[in-house]
Amino acid sequence: MVTVLPKVDVVTTGMGWAGGIVAAELTKAGYNVVGLERGEERSVEDFLLCHDEYKYNIRKDLMQKLNKDTLTFRNTRKDEARPVRSESDLVLGTGTGGGGTHWGAQAYRYFPYDFEIRSKTIERYGAGKIPDNMLIQDWGITYEEIEPYYTKFEQMAGISGEEDPLAGPRSAPYPTPPLLMAPQLQMFHDAADRLGYHPYRVPAGNVSEVYTNPDGETLNACQYCSFCGSYGCEYGAKSDPIVTVIPTAKKTGKFELRTHALVTRILKNGNKVVGVRYRDIRTGEEFDQLADVVALTSYIFNNVRLLLLSKIGQPYDPDTGKGIIGKNYTDHHTILGATGYFEEKKFNNFIGTGAWGSAYNDFNADNFDHTNVDFIHGGQIEMHLLGNEPITNNPVPPDTPSWGKEFKDKSIYYYNRTLSVVSQRAFLPYKDNYLSLDPVYKDDYGDPLLRVTFDYHEMDFKRHEFLSDKCVKQLEEMGADLVVPHPMQEHFSGRFTFQHDGGGAIMGSSPKNSAVNNYSQMWDYENLFVCGSSAFPHFGPMNPTPTMGALTYRATEGMMAFLKNGGGLVIQPK
């Protein structure tokens, strides 16, 4: 027996950043929003005792448990996919705040090049530069068009930062100044200056000073407490939906939150959706929540899975290249560089925040000439002070065993004597990397799990070698006595360790090459908005959240236009 609930203006399927932004914007505009969230409700009080590496970083206490459902994974279509079984291999948000509670809050924008990657690559290097099996496409939005929404996200989240001289132009400075300059970061800057690069301090949602955002929500000043990414912030100093957009939505009186509500289907009627079906996971009761607009805000995996389970849109078929749902999946869990060992120096490596760091973009996007390299795009060269926890961090030089006397001695000696410089790099889509439903494994309720098929391609290795070399040079210039590059594995390991995934319901300028338009509105189902990094046609070089936040802000304008006009596509296909 399913209970049908009266229609509301908008229903969301998750209450992380995407769900929070939708709830805040739509309720401020006077619409009723029901926020469905499979997890519990959380507040800052949940984080008062969270300086505990074992519970939060090893056992992933704040994250989604995998006992009821998970992903399956394989490298190629020839392999049989296996379920990701352990919480240490698949980190997903749950509860109000979602991943926005335990993110590190590095808050980058993508580059103008990202949004027009295909045309700009062809313009500068010719079509021959793009391999046949690579599916890059322009996003259907330019940097100029998305810029105001980036600003909106940054203002809401209180992002602390300074201008990156090599990034796209900004219409407003960061709302709060950058985090402090640590001695290690000063070393990074000095070395980068000597090498002729353009270092800057990375933008952080670990807010540098008390800040009240345009919605009237106040964030406190970051205490550099070190328990940040993977943890919640007990000071309310990390930008998180539960201290920003969710309270904003609640203040309007037009928002209703329902927790422990697992959305299992999108309900449709003809070429419209009419609401969603969800299950109270405590009681097993099922409900149909009717709505004029459905906003999928359940992160890419469940966004795509709900579309496939509900038979909305045509599933992508890698054999024929037809279909769109599941296409252009990109994973971004390969953040590698090099580690430098310093014999004479000891650093306070136990001090950190989730986004304390410096970087340069001289080898990112199309900021350098790719004529003589065998790849396109690039990565950011960066160093972070995250607060090195003692279980996870045991740096030892090569050829040291991973246990026993020598391991112990060296890992203790080098614990505060190493610095790592890494590069986050872009991941571009290929024909054979995609999402689909698994034919074997099911969730607790009998629905197929989502299956990830993903592996690296030649350009990924070329890009890696190039950037790895830059990281090595940077550390050498910083005076490291020994620099050890991080090897790239031959195949993607299937460890999904910080929610960096894109694609599956990609955006574009026409239904021929995309599932949604640049308002995240589904071309084929006008009242269905698919919000989040599922819309990314490729994964840009750095962390995704401001880009997905900006697209979600734009999506809320689309929802309002749709509701006001009583229907229709907000933008026509080109």
Binding site: L48, L49, H51, D52, E53, Y54, K55, I58, R59, K65, L66, N67, D69, T70, E80, R82, P83, V84, R85, S86, E87, L180, M181, A182, P183, A221, C222, Q223, Y224, C225, S226, F227, E234, K346, F347, N348, F350, I351, E389, P390, I391, N394, S402, W403, G404, K405, K408, D409, I412, Y415, N416, V440, Y441, K442
Partner: protein, 246 residues
């Protein structure tokens, strides 16, 4: 070496000689006066160490929740102590109480893999065993190897080099095990050893925060704002989550 640790070691060796010298019958409960109570297994090897703290009061949480056979516990403990041995830096896994940490973890949801996806089929490389079952299987395998390789009645009896040789075989995946590869078992054992040495002491490991002290890690401090720009290396007394006052 810190004082408490020396005491533990003294006690261990005196227990050993006590057992040897007195020739006490195997399998029974021995009331050892100042040595505290201790169990022996069939082979007469030493049982769990009852360490004392707080002016000689026993720590009653240093008892077994998960393991039924003390010989299984001792075997795993001895292996952990080879993985993270005592040295001039400070205590090893046993003195840091890593084995008790493991026992407590196995008694809880982690021991039964409650929050993992457990549906069949388990393909090659995925073990159907729970973490609890893996450690029992592992302990028995270590004992068996001690016997087959060195004709010893227990793993704990082996000298350090012999223990290392056995662990290296496991690590290399060269040992046949039931429903799990020996390298997977070893990887798990190695990881839980480090967890037990460096977790918050609230879990029963990292005793006295000695693991953190070795690494000069200040533990669960509330704020480093005042130190964020310090050029000097800071040695700060660690605190545990249990020391937080909110």
């Amino acid at each position: 070496m810190d004082e408490g640790k020396e005491k533990i070691l003294d006690k261990k060796s005196s227990r050993r000689s006590f057992l040897k010298n007195s020739g006490i019958a195997v399998g029974g409960l021995v009331l050892g006066g100042t040595l505290g109570s201790l169990f022996t297994n069939k082979n007469g090897t030493q049982g769990p160490v009852t360490t004392t703290q707080n002016g000689g009061q026993p720590d009653f949480t240093e008892a077994l929740q998960f393991f039924r056979r003390t010989s299984d516990f001792d075997t795993i403990a001895a292996a952990m102590d080879v993985i993270y041995p005592e040295d001039s830096n400070g205590p090893g896994a046993i003195a840091l109480n890593a084995p008790y940490f493991l026992d407590k973890q196995l008694a809880g949801q982690w021991g039964t893999n409650t929050y993992e996806y457990r549906k069949e089929p388990f393909q090659e490389g995925h073990t159907p065993l729970t973490n609890g079952a893996i450690f029992i299987e592992g302990a028995r395998k270590l004992k068996e190897l001690a016997k087959s390789e060195y004709d010893a009645s227990s793993f704990t009896e082996l000298d350090e080099e012999q223990k290392i040789a056995i662990l290296q075989k496991l690590e290399a995946g060269e040992v046949e095990m039931n429903l799990i590869s020996s390298s997977a078992f070893f990887g798990l054992l190695r990881n839980v050893t480090l967890q037990g040495c460096f977790c918050d002491p609230l879990y029963g490991g990292n005793k006295n925060m000695d693991g953190w002290k070795m690494k000069e890690f200040p533990g669960a401090q509330m704020s480093y704002l005042a130190y964020a720009q310090s050029d000097e290396f800071l040695v700060i007394d660690p605190i545990s989550v249990g020391g937080h006052k909110h």
